[in-house]
C-alpha cells in the first residue's frame, strides 16, 4: 500500500501503526511542542501519553502509536 508522508508517496506494509512505521524509517521526531518548540517522539507507545501526536488525513492530534496505517493515508510530521 502507499501512504503520503509530508506529501511524499512512500510504500508501506499493512498491519502496522503509524508510529512504528515512522520509527522503522528512523523518524524518531514526530512533532515540535507548542510552547518551547522542542522535539518529541513516541514515549509510552500504547496511547496513554499523547506525545506522538501527528496530523493524519488533515486531522490534527492523532496518536501515531495507536493509529493503524491505511492505504492512501496522509501523515504530516514536523521534525
Amino acid at each position: 500500500m502507499r501512504i503520503y508522508l509530508n506529501g511524499v508517496e512512500v510504500e508501506a506494509t499493512e498491519n502496522e501503526s503509524v508510529g512504528t512505521f515512522l520509527l522503522k524509517r528512523r523518524q524518531q521526531v514526530l512533532r515540535k511542542t507548542r510552547f518551547n518548540d522542542q522535539p518529541r517522539g513516541m514515549f509510552c507507545g500504547i496511547g496513554v501519553c499523547f506525545d506522538c501526536i501527528v496530523t493524519i488525513d488533515g486531522i490534527a492530534n492523532q496518536r501515531a502509536c495507536i493509529t493503524q496505517l491505511r492505504d492512501g493515508m496522509r501523515i504530516e510530521v514536523t521534525s
Binding site: 499493512e14 498491519n15 521526531v29 522542542q38 517522539g41 507507545g45 500504547i46 506525545d51 486531522i59
Partner: protein, 458 residues
C-alpha cells in the same frame, strides 16, 4: 441487556469472557488495540510469541469458537456512566453500549519518573519499548539503556537483546538481594522466567547494575548520551559516581499505574494501596466492585502480573455467571476450585515485590529547575515550586490549576502521581488519599471529534 460488557481484552478480560461463555452467557469485549492480548500478549498480525504464547492461543481459540462472545477491537470508550443499575459506555465509533453487568479489565501502564532530558525523542517507557517490539518488531534504538525499578526491566532488556539491540546496561535503582528466591517461592514458572532472562542477558554480556539510575539524558534534538549514577537506598545520587555513556535511546520504567479512568466514571469505590499508594479498584471476594453488577479484574484492582489477572478474570467470570442466573452457586464452587487460594498466594507475592521495588523519595534530587514535569503542558519543576512558594498553593488541585501541570492531552496519566508527590514534598504534607484519587477523574476518557459528540447527542 443480558450481555456482559468487558472493557479490556487482556488476560483478565479474555479469561472472564471464556468463563461467562462456558456458563452459557453472552459477552462483548471492547479493546482499543487492534487485537486481543492486552499489553502482556501484544502481538502483530500473526500471533507469534517468543515465550508463554500457548495460554494466549488457547484462550483466543476458545473465544473465537464461542459465537456468544463478540470482540470489538480498535474501539475506545470515551465516556462511561452507571445509573439505576445500568452501565452505559460511549464508544469512539459513535455508538454506545448498555448493560447490567460490566467487567473493568483496563489494565495498567508504565509509571514514569522525570529527569532532565526524559522528554527527548529516543526516551521511551519500558512498556512502550516492549509494546512496539511485540506489535511490529520496531526498535526504539540501536544502543540503549534499560533503567528504573522492578522485575519488568529484565524481560524488556532480554527481548531487546533477542531483537538485536545493543543493551548497554540494565540499571535497577533498588538494591535487590535474593529476589530470585522470592520468585521461586511462588511458582516454578516465575523462576524459569527469571533464569531465562538472566541467561539471555549474560550471554550478551549485558551488565545488570543494582543501585544505579539514569539521572539525565542529553542530545541535540534526540538522545545522544545519558548520565548515570549510583544512588543510595533513598535514590539520592552518590557523589563521585557519575558516568556519561553514548547511546541513542533509553527505556525507563518504575512499575505500573492501574488505569482507572473508566472505573472512576462508573463511580466504583477505590482503595489507596498501602505499599505504593497507587489507587486501585476495591473489589470483594467475587471481584465485584461497590456498584452492583460492576466487576473488576486484573491490574486495575492492583498490579500483580499475568497469572493474577488470569485468575481474577476467571473468578469474575464465574461470579458474573451466578449473578446472571446462568449457573448455581454449587456449580460456581465446582468451577472455582483452588482459584481463591491461588489468588491470595500471588497477591501476597505481588505485594512483596511492590515493597522491594518501591520508588524512594530521593528521585526528586535528579531534577533541576528547568526539568519538564508535565510533558503535555511543558511545565517545569521551577514553575511547580513557584506556585507553591510564591502563589501560595497549598494543595495538589490548586497547584495544578495555577501551573497547568497535568491539564494537557494525557489528562495527567503520565505526570499526575509524580506531580502530586512533588507538590506534597514542597508543601510539606504528602498528597491525601482523595487527592490521589482525583488524579484519575477524567469525565472524557479520550478525545473525540465534535462530529461524534453531535451524533451521540441525538
Amino acid at each position: 441487556m443480558s450481555r456482559t460488557i468487558i472493557v479490556g481484552g487482556g488476560p483478565a478480560g479474555m479469561s472472564a469472557a471464556v468463563e461467562i461463555a462456558r456458563a452459557g452467557g453472552d459477552a462483548i469485549i471492547i479493546d482499543s488495540n487492534p487485537r486481543l492480548g492486552g499489553q502482556y500478549w501484544r502481538h502483530g498480525p500473526v500471533a507469534e510469541f517468543s515465550y508463554d504464547g500457548e495460554r494466549f492461543v488457547a484462550l483466543q481459540a476458545e473465544i473465537n469458537n464461542h459465537p456468544s462472545i463478540e470482540v470489538r477491537a480498535s474501539t475506545q470508550v470515551w465516556r462511561a456512566s452507571y445509573q439505576d443499575g445500568v452501565a452505559t459506555l460511549w464508544l469512539n465509533d459513535g455508538t454506545s453500549l448498555t448493560g447490567e453487568t460490566l467487567l473493568i479489565a483496563t489494565g495498567a501502564y508504565d509509571r514514569s519518573l522525570p529527569f532532565p532530558g526524559w522528554d527527548l525523542p529516543g526516551s521511551m517507557t519500558a512498556g512502550g519499548a516492549q509494546a512496539i517490539l511485540k506489535a511490529s518488531g520496531a526498535l526504539l534504538g540501536r544502543s540503549v539503556f534499560v533503567a528504573g525499578t522492578g522485575p519488568f526491566l529484565l524481560p524488556v532488556a532480554a527481548s531487546l537483546v533477542e531483537a538485536g539491540v545493543k543493551v548497554l546496561g540494565v540499571l535497577e535503582a533498588n538494591r535487590v538481594n535474593g529476589w530470585v528466591n522470592h520468585l521461586g517461592a511462588v511458582d516454578v514458572r516465575k523462576m524459569k522466567d527469571a533464569v531465562r532472562y538472566f541467561k539471555i542477558l549474560s550471554a550478551a554480556k549485558v551488565p545488570i547494575r543494582m543501585g544505579y539510575a539514569i539521572i539525565e539524558a542529553r542530545g541535540d534534538g534526540r538522545i545522544e548520551e545519558v548520565v548515570i549514577a549510583k544512588v543510595d537506598r533513598n535514590f539520592t545520587v552518590k557523589p563521585g559516581t557519575v558516568e556519561v555513556h553514548k547511546c541513542d535511546a533509553i527505556a525507563t520504567g518504575w512499575g505500573f499505574t492501574p488505569d482507572l479512568t473508566i472505573a472512576h466514571s462508573l463511580g466504583v469505590s477505590t482503595d489507596v494501596h498501602p505499599i505504593d499508594r497507587s489507587v486501585v479498584i476495591h473489589v470483594d471476594a467475587f471481584q465485584e466492585t461497590s456498584q452492583y453488577g460492576i466487576f473488576a479484574a486484573g491490574e486495575s484492582t492492583g498490579v500483580g502480573g499475568v497469572d493474577l489477572a488470569l485468575i481474577e478474570g476467571r473468578i469474575a467470570g464465574i461470579a458474573i455467571a451466578v449473578q446472571r442466573g446462568l449457573i448455581s452457586t454449587v456449580e460456581a464452587k465446582n468451577r472455582s476450585v483452588g482459584l481463591a487460594s491461588e489468588r491470595s498466594k500471588i497477591r501476597k507475592f505481588a505485594n512483596a515485590l511492590l515493597s522491594v521495588y518501591k520508588i524512594r523519595e530521593g528521585w526528586r534530587s535528579w531534577l533541576n529547575p528547568e526539568t519538564i514535569l508535565c510533558r503535555c503542558e511543558e511545565v517545569t519543576f521551577k514553575q511547580v515550586r513557584n506556585v507553591v512558594h510564591d502563589l501560595g498553593a497549598s494543595d495538589v488541585r490548586t497547584a495544578k490549576l495555577l501551573s497547568r501541570c497535568g491539564m494537557g492531552m494525557c489528562q495527567a496519566r503520565v505526570c499526575g502521581r509524580m506531580v502530586a508527590d512533588v507538590i506534597g514534598a514542597e508543601i510539606g504534607a504528602p498528597a491525601t488519599d482523595d487527592e490521589l484519587r482525583g488524579i484519575h477523574n477524567r469525565p472524557i476518557a479520550h478525545p473525540i471529534s465534535l462530529q461524534t459528540l453531535a451524533d451521540q447527542g441525538q
